[in-house]
Symmetry: C2
Subunit: 223 residues, 2 copies
């Protein structure tokens, strides 16, 4: 095969894969599936899209082999085909967060209103976990927590936070995390906690980022 033909094919194959990611909805789906498998309906619900549109975007991801399905009764569960796919997304996400001014401003404005601007990096949390009496809060839905969570974290889904406050002593330091930098459960939790007089910050990254760093993870069986 000739040189130029080879290159054209190589870059085309890769561009096809990149194109499959090059859409806001599909990036959000990839981000969401970093938590584990989800049904079409769940994905539609989380992303605010219609089911038909969600399905169509999932087909695009599936054609590019970025996601695969597992049938379970009437439901079809989608998941990422490889962990590396989340890694690539994470990489692109960091590129945007670090170098697109518009992106920085968007996150800053959003977090300022929720007192969650002063966020911790994973490395900073690790230091705190060793030396301080810090409580790590997982603000994701219960099923995602059961699927895997930071070892030592306690699960308080955002809707339960208000009623759980009475069990949280005020003399501790709180770090809230959820799915990733664009997951706002943690921001909402920090807003509530700070308002009630707690010392709370959010973790910049989310659970999948913790996993990719090879840090300790625990699971809990559904009851």
């Amino acid at each position: 095969m000739e040189k130029r033909v080879f290159k054209d094919k190589a870059y085309s194959i890769l561009a096809t894969m990149v194109k499959a990611m090059a859409n806001p909805h599909r990036l959000e789906i990839v981000d969401l599936l970093g938590q584990g498998e989800k049904t079409v309906e769940e994905i539609a619900g989380e992303t605010g899209m219609s089911v038909a549109n969600t399905s169509q975007h999932l087909q695009v991801l599936k054609s590019a082999n970025l996601v695969e399905i597992r049938r379970e009764g009437n439901f079809i569960n989608y998941k990422l085909t490889h962990e590396e796919i989340y890694k690539s997304w994470q990489n692109l996400r960091e590129l945007g967060l670090n170098h697109i001014a518009e992106m920085e401003k968007l996150v800053k404005d959003f977090r300022e209103k929720r007192n969650s601007l002063e966020a911790l990096k994973i490395d900073e949390l690790l230091t705190k976990m060793k030396s301080k009496n810090v409580v790590v809060l997982d603000i994701r839905p219960e099923t995602e927590f059961q699927n895997g969570h930071i070892t030592g974290a306690i699960n308080i889904p955002i809707e339960e936070l208000a009623t759980q406050l009475k069990n949280l002593p005020k003399n501790k330091e709180y770090v809230a995390y959820c799915r990733g930098p664009f997951c706002v459960f943690a921001d909402e939790a920090v807003a509530v906690l700070n308002k009630k007089g707690y010392s709370a910050k959010r973790l910049n990254e989310g659970f999948p980022d913790w996993v990719l760093k090879g840090l300790p993870v625990s699971y809990s069986k559904a009851s």
Copy 2:
């Protein structure tokens, strides 16, 4: 700002960036600019595109802040705005190379014909460089070599290989590298060397990958 609005904006900003990469020609340009800055004409020449089309694609990359320009007389030099951009490309490239069957087959077929299938990884080259009498050949054009190369490598641009053979002893082991996995200078060099009875393999990765690993690099001034 409302939750959904925030997410829509965040994923849209990132999708705009990813879209800027989601094209075979633009991926090739990003790959090429990993070697350092190039003029529009040079990029057009290397990629086999018309100058007008190249310019148009460069505008797309520039709008996304992936590349920036430096004027020099009549010429405009394009370069990547950040090293992380190459890193993201590298990441996507590896994803494709490892998980797209079509991609694996393409590379395998191409290299089999050139006896360059048995390629070394950077880590393997490092081991060899310590213990063996290996000669590292940089097959890129002279200007790219001068801009930075693997410390200890000698530069033999592909057109000069035939005439330089007389200076290469046959009792050594040769490892040829160029720009990256899709750069075929190294494959061509390996094909020539093996045909002439040398023991030669190509390096899987290219010079930018060596740099991103933080390995030793040398420069040479233009004469």
